[in-house]
Symmetry: C2
Subunit: 231 residues, 2 copies
DNA sequence: GCAAAAGTGTTGTGACTACACCCATGG
DNA sequence: CCATGGGTGTAGTCACAACACTTTTGC
């Protein structure tokens, strides 16, 4: 680790990462924020982020951001991480020119549930509620995930290995922003073999009634519509 | 411009941009490279790139990279520029930790034709032909454009305002890597209103014969399948 | 029995594929 | 009149949306 002082031109932007950590909580899309304890924007709720070190990859920096800003809950879980984009407005950070590489992080419902103090329904967050350009980053992240739901098995990241098919539908509905036809949803996802039925039945815990559902899981072959033909 | 010397921690990655400049030349996909005149990899053909300054956006740096590395031909033309991704391998640059934001640049056929010394058919470039991780960047760029052809009017960037419908088909075929049915291609693009027929006829220049084609142009409404429903 | 939730089946509509065919021009 | 490339039409197949119906549970 080289921390010696020596002449250096200051013509270099600072590089940081910010993480948009998303999960479905009680059927609606939530984002995990933390409260800043330093200036600028001290006291504001913001996306977890850190400056990138020379000896770590961007993804490693993203994981560190989660550890340092949010702490325990995520560190033991596997978090799906995906690079989103670089945000580079000249004045996005009052401390000086900073380019941020944003990452999308996706967590399971039960993990999301444990982020008591951090989680926030995404729908409640309006332009101006977040510092820096974090609102733009958040919107971009949601749009990206929405797009990926169409042609990848990205929804897998929100669910445990075995899940009710309705829980999956809730994921889709939370992102697409409207309700879907139950039986068509089911028929389609089974036909394209994105998911498959298992012979496991859900044990009834706190259910009011109704037929106990089979549990489903994602099939192996991930991306499915990527290579569909155009004409 | 602050270039004074003063104590600074060296724990910051360098930030650069690289541009994958693509065009269709004689029906096949070409990429614009330049010959490096400095170490490392002096003499090698590489993607044009520069280190980012604090007072310029990433896109501005991408434009500067084209100017400084390739020079005139592109500077007068409008180049479609789109951010691709950040490439961040710890050892991708032997000079030290450098994170590169890659941009995709798309140019028209006639512009591509003028890049005599720079252009290279993408199909000829194999793993190991390019320095740094430029081969990975190139592949990623092509995959991205291929995807965008499906649901945006990105092909517009490769063509002049008025074009033969067959020239458009060549763009699609160059990226998709296989030939398409002529009449289905035509019917589909017209039905989804990505393009429209004009009453301009192509004047016969060096044509061997055949019915003179109408010229077409892209309609206003750009992206078209983005909000198509999933189920 | 009734409500609730899971799961199956049907039917009309519309899109896509693979062709075959017609049109207009140069030589 | 023929080769060449542009442009139109059609029939079979398949996917999708909407909706009705059946099954299995809790109370």
């Amino acid at each position: 680790m080289n921390t010696t002082t020596r002449p250096v031109k200051l013509e270099r932007p600072i590089l940081s990462v910010d993480v948009v950590l998303l999960g479905i909580y009680r059927g609606s899309l939530s984002v995990v924020l933390y409260t800043r304890d330093k200036e600028p924007y001290k006291g504001a709720r913001a996306l977890p982020g850190v400056a990138v070190r020379t000896d770590e990859t961007l993804e490693a920096a993203a994981i560190r951001a989660l550890k340092e800003r949010i702490g325990d809950p995520a560190s033991n879980e596997r978090v799906y991480l995906d690079q989103l984009a670089a945000f580079d407005g000249l004045h996005r950070d009052p401390r000086g020119r900073t380019v941020s590489i944003a990452y999308i992080g996706l967590i399971q419902a039960d993990t999301a549930a444990r982020y008591e103090k951090f989680r926030e329904p995404a729908a409640n967050i309006r332009e101006g509620d977040l510092p820096f350009d974090h609102h733009l980053i958040l919107r971009t992240a949601i749009t990206r995930v929405k797009g990926k739901l169409r042609y990848t098995n990205i929804a897998k990241a929100f669910l445990p290995e075995y899940f009710r098919i309705e829980a999956l539908q809730e994921v889709y509905e939370a992102f697409l922003g409207h309700s879907l036809n139950r039986s068509n949803f089911r028929n389609k996802l089974l036909k394209i073999k994105l998911i498959e039925q298992t012979d496991v039945l859900q044990e009834a815990v706190g259910k009011k009634g109704g037929r106990p559902p089979h549990l489903y899981r994602f099939t192996q072959d991930g991306v499915y519509a990527q290579d569909r033909d155009f004409v």
